[in-house]
């Protein structure tokens, strides 16, 4: 093996690398290692991956956008494509920018296309890995070979990277670690010819503690910090990692997470823990949320606090279980029998998953009702780097309060928000409360009185009206007035802000806002919109029979403002910046 490239490296601030292979090749772990490294070298990162929804695997990609400054999207097109197979090459060459570099395995990729000035570099990962590790390893470890190769190409911090690898594989066995490092070193030393090497500008994120992780993991950390100690769920993609992590972590906090027999039992057990006085969480993905709908309406009626996470995926039905979509907004807000008020929140990036979980805990307790968090497949699995959350500052002690309640206690007072007295609470008046899904009077007695039903419906709705008035308007990115306000929710934040930057640099008066409190909407949102000539709502759901996406429809219904326009797509892929730019330009150009 020869030495790594020694020619003078080209300096750069951003790089988008797409790894295309099969899910069993371990390309996710290469991406994971690089993302972790970015966090450790003050860089920014955003990843994007597709995985097949079959167990035996299939074509899979991992795209990684590394940057010295802020990175807000996984990248529209890549600078480097690493193609493991012919199908990887055929399907992903179009994702490479003009003049980009395609590294391919000549043992697998036989037919090349000459187009757009793309530079082809053959690197036999399979045979070189077998040669490096020897024995009967076959091609296991070729992902580590590619990692070494990229490390050399981009002049990444080899010491830190091999440290991250060692920590991961060291957990398994010495043999596995040795083979991984042999493959890594062989990749690092492999001569890639005259494409040269690249050197990143120093990372600009100099804050002391920077972490890199995915949205599901961080959401779980937020729940733990919010005081969640109990709950139950049923496995479904892409929600499952949260329940697996809660199941593993909660015993350390004295809590329990239960794998239920089905979605209905999961939400029922969680409501049981909430009735018992705890802050509890259940979660699922779209179809599972539908199954939980009856019990969620119960929680609205009985006024029990509850966090429900929906990691959205492509629907309807089984749909596209491993693709991103934002088509459960209306289900989250209105998917109920009867008028069942609930709070709906949406995190705008991976970092926000922590803070939205805290917010959900706070609101569930304060308003004693279900709070649904709408995450999505993209947020759930992509890795970003950001400042470590301050646990000391945000820590919430679990809330169980069984101090005796005075004689005038009423579970459902008309003039106040319900505060339940959980089991174990002594009732000084001797009358014990009942929590119920039948319409009830202030003491919880069933009542079918027309007056009571109207008053109780008002009481349950009033909580959300109060919250709407208490909520600040969402943050504006850019100026507070202009020609166009782009409105988004959830994982579209990055591409939308990138769009704003591009259009502003071209002289357009464009701003954006990401709505985190989706229901109720902040009361002042109309004032905010009124300072713009046009409003464009960007979301990943269908424009429907009437031509407006789900959030656009709600905003138009609330504000009766014909200036609100809608841009939707449902191709299962996160927004590219150029798609949002094109839609914004079209809106700007219209009268």
């Amino acid at each position: 093996m020869s030495t790594p490239p020694t020619s003078t490296p080209t300096s750069l601030r951003n790089a988008v690398i797409r790894l295309a292979g099969n899910s069993q090749d371990g390309i996710q772990s290469i991406g994971g290692f690089l993302a972790r490294l970015a966090g450790r070298t003050q860089k920014d990162v955003m990843t994007y991956m597709t995985i097949p929804s079959t167990i035996s695997g299939g074509p899979s990609i991992f795209q990684l956008h590394l940057g010295s400054g802020e990175v807000r999207s996984p990248g529209d097109e890549s600078d480097v494509l690493v193609a493991f197979y012919q199908h990887s090459y055929d399907n992903h060459l179009s994702a490479l920018r003009d003049g980009g570099i395609c590294i391919y395995d000549p043992d697998e990729v036989k037919e090349l296309k000459s187009e757009r000035g793309i530079v082809h570099v053959p690197v036999p990962f399979t045979s070189a890995t077998i040669e490096a590790i020897g024995g009967s390893s076959r091609d296991r470890g070729k992902n580590m070979f590619v990692l070494g190769l990229l490390c050399a190409m981009y002049q990444l911090d080899r010491e830190k990277l091999s440290g991250i690898v060692a920590r991961q594989f060291g957990k398994k066995s010495e043999d596995i670690l040795r083979n991984a490092m042999l493959a890594f070193d062989a990749g690092y030393a492999y001569p890639v010819g005259d494409i040269g090497s690249f050197n990143f500008a120093e990372g600009e994120h100099l804050d002391e503690n920077r972490i890199s992780t995915d949205g599901n993991t961080l959401m779980t950390m937020g729940l733990l910090c919010a005081g969640v100690r109990y709950g139950s769920a049923y496995p479904i993609t892409p929600w499952s990692p949260i329940m697996e992590l809660l199941r593993t972590e909660l015993p350390k906090y004295g809590g329990i997470y239960v794998q239920a027999e089905d979605e209905l039992a999961a939400v029922a057990m969680t409501i049981g823990a909430a009735f018992a006085g705890h802050l509890a969480v259940t979660g699922s993905s779209g179809p599972g949320l539908s199954l939980k709908a009856e019990a969620l309406s119960y929680a609205s009626m009985a006024e029990l606090p509850l966090i429900v996470i929906n990691v959205q995926r492509g629907g309807p039905s089984t749909g596209l279980p491993t693709s991103v979509e934002q088509s459960d907004l209306l289900q989250a807000i209105y998917g109920s029998h009867g008028d069942a008020p609930r709070i709906v929140l949406g995190p705008q990036d991976v970092e926000d998953c922590f803070y939205i979980a805290l917010e959900a805990g706070r609101l569930a307790r304060e308003y004693s009702c279900p709070v649904i968090i709408l995450s999505d497949q993209a947020l759930s699995s992509r890795i970003e780097a950001f400042t470590e959350p301050d646990v000391d500052k945000h820590w919430v002690e679990p809330p169980l309060d069984i101090t005796p309640r005075p004689a005038d206690f009423k579970p459902y007072p008309l003039d106040q928000i319900t505060r339940h007295a959980p089991p174990g609470t002594k009732m000084e008046g001797g009358k014990y409360p009942i929590v119920t899904g039948l319409e009830h009077d202030e003491w919880g007695h069933p009542s079918s009185s027309p007056v009571i039903h109207q008053k109780m419906t008002d009481k349950r709705r009033r909580k959300l009206e109060e919250l709407a008035r208490a909520l600040p308007n969402p943050e504006i990115y850019g100026e507070a007035e202009g020609d166009l306000l782009i409105v988004g929710w959830g994982c579209t934040c990055g591409p939308i802000r990138e769009t704003v930057d591009r259009l502003r640099s071209e002289g357009h008066r464009v701003s954006s806002t990401q709505i985190r409190h989706l229901h109720p909407l902040p009361a002042g949102i109309g004032d905010m919109f009124s300072r713009f000539r046009k409003v464009l709502v960007v979301e990943m759901n269908d424009s429907g029979v009437y031509g407006y996406g789900q959030l656009a429809m709600l905003l138009r219904a609330k504000l009766a403002d014909p200036r609100i326009e809608s841009f939707c797509k449902t191709d299962g892929l996160a927004f590219r910046i150029r798609e949002v730019v094109a839609a914004a330009e079209k809106t700007l150009a219209s009268a």
Binding site: K252, D262, A268, P423, G430
Partner: protein, 304 residues
């Protein structure tokens, strides 16, 4: 927290003595003559005997006539949705080891819409007591066939007589792994109280099927096990039946109507409550007194 056990009543405040009067709440909405009145009366009496702290009694129910039960007991209570009382009670039991959880419901709630939950709560051996008031008919919705209606029973959904084979509650519960399985009768108050008390004192998932006649929609359904109506109330002789022998219990359960009454099966198996607590204890021992806040800080620091 699951490990927290509230303090026992302090010595200076004499614990309130639980009486039927204290435990009585709203007047039952049941029809005159309904078997469920006797079940409620028996429950009051058993609670009077056991004298649990008032605030630690929790009654849970789903939907159905018998599921109105929590309104009629002055204790902490929750009236939930149809069929899901058991998973709700599971959430209470696992997260609050300091309270006593009682679940009440009917045959439709337990064996039909909630059937799968019964299997899983039983196999997990959740610490609670479940009384199924079986009247062999849907009463609240006014006479449709239930999963325990015998073949030939004429209802609004089976005008020519029930077509489908009914389930056998005892056999089903044996198969599902419940650790205390018994059968009693609302017209046999003394036996009912004995069975309830044994069920409540059992450390695990205890379930009692209690035949309770619906006088409106299935009058006379249990005459064959009501001696004053010429029936036979045949109680299991536990000197001849080994309650830990599930095969013997299965055979007993196979006897023709009206079958046997009493405890069919009882074994000790660790509850999920205990097994989860064992895991919690092991995890916490490993953490050697580290505060939950520090556990979280360390976990997040691993992502650096």
């Amino acid at each position: 927290m699951s490990t927290a056990t509230p303090d026992a009543p302090s010595a200076d405040t004499a614990p309130e003595k639980l009486t039927k009067k204290i435990l009585t709440a709203d007047h039952p909405t049941w029809c005159p003559g309904c078997g469920d009145f006797a079940v409620l009366a028996a429950f009051y009496k058993v609670l009077e005997k056991l004298q649990y702290p008032h605030e630690k009694i929790v009654c849970v129910a789903g939907i159905g006539c018998s599921s109105r039960f929590p309104y009629f007991v002055n204790s902490h209570g929750i009236h939930f949705i149809h069929g899901r009382a058991l998973p709700l009670a599971t959430g209470v039991s696992l997260s609050r080891p300091d309270v006593h959880v009682f679940v009440f419901g009917g045959d439709g709630d337990g064996f039909s819409i909630g059937g799968n939950h019964l299997n899983h709560a039983a196999r997990k051996n959740i610490k609670l007591t479940y009384v199924i008031m079986d009247n062999n008919v849907y009463g609240l919705t006014k006479k449709q066939t239930s999963p325990t209606s015998p073949q030939g029973f004429k209802s609004k959904t089976d005008p020519t007589g029930a077509i489908d084979r009914p389930i056998n509650p005892m056999k089903q519960l044996l198969a599902s792994g419940a650790t205390f399985i018994a059968r009693t009768h609302a017209a046999q108050v003394k036996h009912m109280m004995e069975v309830f008390e044994r069920a409540i004192l059992h450390d695990g998932f205890s379930v009692v099927e209690c035949l309770s006649e619906c006088v409106m929609f299935y009058a006379g359904s249990f005459d064959n096990s009501t001696p004053r109506k010429g029936g036979v109330y045949d109680i299991i002789d536990e000197s001849a039946h080994d309650v830990t022998d599930d095969t013997a219990a299965f055979k007993l359960a196979d006897e023709a109507a009206p079958g046997k009454f009493g405890v069919f099966y009882q074994v000790q198996r660790p509850t999920k409550n205990a097994l989860e607590q064992k895991w919690i204890d092991a995890e916490q021992a490993r953490l050697a007194g580290k505060s939950p806040k520090d556990v979280l800080k360390n976990r997040i620091a691993q992502m650096r």
